[in-house]
């Protein structure tokens, strides 16, 4: 227990900022300033929390009674995994605010409020140590995202927002029953929603199967795993740039986080049974999404499908459940957020110049704006897994870890990585090279200072994680060694 409620501040600071932007909504400039200030303060706070979270000596936690008659507590804690994800959320939050400066002119007060509210709910998901509290934050994140897509999105935004919400709520509501079921599975009188207590005494195996199925469905929709991924391409395509960045970087990660942190440790018997299914779904997702990405003509949709493919690799890494594959999967969560976020931001910048997201409307970007072109190529290469860049490390770890127990799966997944290269090359070729499309306007400025402010830190972090991932892997070692023995059936 620490004197200063650092974790609560991390969660609720963005909400305060959201309130400020709503109150300042008459002046767009003040809104932007308030949003940026909040996002930077949040980043600073998260950065301060990281050394504390990484140090095994200090325990960063908060715990207070909330609804005593149901054993519900306001319990938060931060370990290496939570800490990294919160830092990533705060980092992407700053970038999301910065990319919106030019793009969002309509009702900036409400827009930044929703953007910051997503940050609050995501931090809550990553830090909650009480199942009820986790569920609450989990469901809350739908509302601001629904408005971000539906109000500030592109032409087909209403349909995409509805689809996103309905898919997510269908998974979430069934999970609510499972949350209650997990609570009722405990002996009467000692019921609690504390994650630690629930993991210490798992339910009977036949009950676990049902509960795991409901949890898995909710997380699978959010991650997303094929075949419940169909909301994602629409949501990504229609969302404003910052919405896509947050959706890919933060919201999808809450799904993967839930799978690792909740679904597997809470229901170990069911999880052990589900491993073959997860491998099948992961591989199917990898191939299906990669092939779909190849067929896209809309650049944003292409990146959305690549997102599904990258997340499928996380599923495989989690299902393999050993130290190497699990740390690979966790690292991949962060890497995917950076590279995909970078690609979405770049497509936002390019389509603002060309007026369209169609690949056919680009071409020749390298010639017309060499700096933007270089950044784009850099993010493309990171996404394709070029050695020296971040995705290479995490994908290699995931595949090597999977190889030790399941060489067939690893080989198939490795072959799938070749497909990744194909569609990434298609994206790079269609955008950067060739002759500029006839529809392109005369005005095509190269990277502006504000854009460089967004792209440079992203590129720097991609390089850092590519060359020196050890610091991050050290932080993940604690959580990994904590999770692994929780499923004795899989852990040798």
């Amino acid at each position: 227990m620490n004197a200063f409620p650092l974790l609560s501040t991390l969660i609720f600071l963005p909400l305060l900022g959201a309130l400020a932007t709503v109150l300042l909504s008459r002046s767009p400039a003040l809104c932007r300033a308030a949003a940026l200030g909040t996002a930077l303060a949040e980043l600073l706070l998260a950065a301060c929390a990281i050394p504390l979270a990484a140090d095994p000596g200090t325990i960063l936690a908060e715990n207070a009674a909330w609804i005593p008659s149901f054993g519900i507590r306001y319990a938060l804690a931060m370990d290496g995994l939570s800490g990294l994800l919160v830092l990533m959320t705060a980092f992407l939050g700053v970038l999301a605010v910065l990319t919106s400066f030019k793009e969002i002119t309509k009702r900036p007060g409400a827009y930044y409020a929703f953007l910051l509210a997503v940050e609050t709910s995501a931090c809550g998901v990553f830090l909650a140590k009480d199942l009820f509290l986790f569920y609450l934050f989990w469901e809350v994140q739908l509302v601001p995202m629904f408005f971000l897509i539906g109000v500030w999105g592109h032409e087909d935004r209403r349909k995409a927002a509805l689809k996103f919400f309905l898919f997510s709520i269908a998974g979430g509501m069934l999970m609510l029953l499972a949350v209650i079921g997990a609570w009722l599975a405990q002996p009467e009188g000692a019921r609690t929603f504390s994650l630690a207590a629930l993991m210490a005494a798992p339910a009977a195996p036949h009950v676990q199967n049902w509960l795991f199925a409901a949890f898995f469905l909710a997380f699978a929709v959010k991650m997303p795993i094929v075949p419940v991924h169909t909301w994602l391409p629409d949501a990504h395509t229609q969302a404003p740039t910052a919405g896509s960045v947050i959706l890919a970087g933060v919201l999808l990660k809450t799904g993967a986080y839930g799978l690792i942190r909740l679904a597997f440790p809470l229901f170990p018997d069911a999880a052990a049974l589900s491993v073959p299914l997860l491998f099948v779904l992961g591989l199917a997702g990898l191939y299906h999404a990669s092939l779909c990405a190849l067929a896209q003509t809309d650049a944003k949709r292409l990146v959305a499908y690549s997102s599904v493919a990258h997340m499928a690799l996380i599923v495989i890494g989690v299902a393999a459940w050993n130290a190497v594959s699990l740390s690979g999967a966790m690292l991949q969560m962060i890497n995917h957020a950076l590279t995909t976020g970078g690609l979405f931001i770049m497509i936002g910048m390019l389509s603002r110049r060309s007026g369209s997201r169609e690949l056919a409307s680009f071409g020749g970007v390298w010639k017309r704006s060499p700096v933007l072109g270089a950044f784009f190529l850099f993010f493309c290469m990171a996404s394709a897994g070029l050695p020296g860049l971040n995705n290479f490390v995490s994908e290699l770890l995931t595949l090597v870890g999977t190889w030790t127990g399941h060489p067939g799966v690893a080989a198939a997944a490795f072959a799938g990585a070749v497909l990744t290269l194909t569609y990434v090359l298609k994206l790079a070729q269609g955008t950067l090279f060739g002759t500029p499309a006839a529809t392109q306007p005369e005005q095509w400025p190269d990277a502006e200072p504000l854009e460089l402010c967004v792209l440079s830190p992203l590129a720097a972090s991609i390089l850092y994680l590519g060359f020196a991932p050890q610091a991050v892997l050290d932080m993940l070692r604690g959580p990994v060694s904590d999770f692994l023995p929780r499923i004795p059936q899989l852990f040798q």
């Binding site: 609804i67 509805l162 609510l176 209650i180």
Partner: protein, 477 residues
Amino acid sequence: MTAVAEGWTPILPYAILAGGALAVFLAASLTKGRPSRVFAPISLLCALGAGLAALCAAPQAGIFAGTLDAGPFARFYQILTCGLTAGAILLLGGYSRRRGFERDELYALTLLAALGMCLLTAAVDWVILFLGLEMLSISLYVIIAAHKDAPQAAEAALKYFVLGAVASSFLLFGIALVYAATGETGVAESLRDAAQHGMEGIALLGFSCILVGLGFKISLAPFHLWTPDVYQGAPAPVTAFLSTGSKVAVFAALLRMALSESPLFARMDPVLWTLAALTMTAAPLGAMTQPSVKRMLAYSSAGHMGYLFMALLAAPIAGPGPIMFYSAVYGIMDMGAFGALSTLSPLDRDADDIMDFRGMGFDRPYAAGALALCLLTLAGLPPTAGFTGKFFLFESALSAGYVWLAVIGVISAIISVYYYLRVLAAMYMRAPEWAPARESAPGSYAVLALACAGALALGLLPAPVLSVMAASAPFTP
């Protein structure tokens, strides 16, 4: 002195409401029947006073020779119904004044309806129960038709009256059969002893008739088809009153029966299960395709009654707490939703078609924001009270072993999200077509603010309310 005080305090809520109705009529005769501004304050004060009296009175076992319960259960529901009545009166004040039907009978009958609700929640005797329900229903028939210039209101009132009369006769016949089978008029006693006189079949038939009568009032499927027509036709503030107060009060009576440890409930379990499942299925399916927001909300209120009915099955095992909590939540959110609807309505008609709401979100941020919050509460999203309430309901259903019913309920809730979101999408994601008249309606905004505050407070901090309910749990029905 204290003996006198104790004797009088339990009947104060009833006395204040009845006295208030008379005072309104008296004031009307003094103003010679002209529309007057004094009716609304008088009735508002009476509704609040009755609620306050119910809040302050010391709990007692029974009054009036044991025909009225004055325990914590009745008092909880009386505070709730009086609060909802006060909300409806606040909404009606501005609404009826601007549309020229602010007359004495409107307010007096609203107070009499509230008196009927209070009787209904406290009735431990079949006669009082029927009396309360009739007092409530007859007042409602008139209030629905109070706006004489609106033809669809008269149609709604007639429809409600004809069907309501049939339902009342079912109820009365059922009560007679139960009495015939047991020779007792006490609600709990007659239901509990139904099997002891060798006439269980008659009692079962009677109980079924009672269920039909009450099921009509709370619009359980298949007795729910009147709801959309009546809700659509009635003026929006009246619909707010109709959908919250009357349903909550009738549900209190049902809950009292469920807690009577009657063997009839166990015998009827498959029927009750089917009713709950049917309601939770039919309501969202009906609401899904509605272009009219009022009709959609009518089906949605039937759906919420389905959730409550599911928890009612579990109440003998899981206790009344979740139902009491959700009754309050339901009252608050439906009052807020219909209140926002009436605030957003232009003078010549009620905002009803979903296209009427286009662009309202940014055009009228406060009223539309309240509607949005109430819709999210109805959809059961955290951190609102709708989520906490649903959590408790489903918890009670699962803990009593009604797993499939809970699954049906959750699927129904998932479908219901779609039609709430449609309204949100229209309000915030479409361009406005017409500029609604902006009027100052402080009463309506007060109701909306209170509803929003209640929806958030009960959602985030349910613990104090729950502890009050836990304290009132061990009561004799």
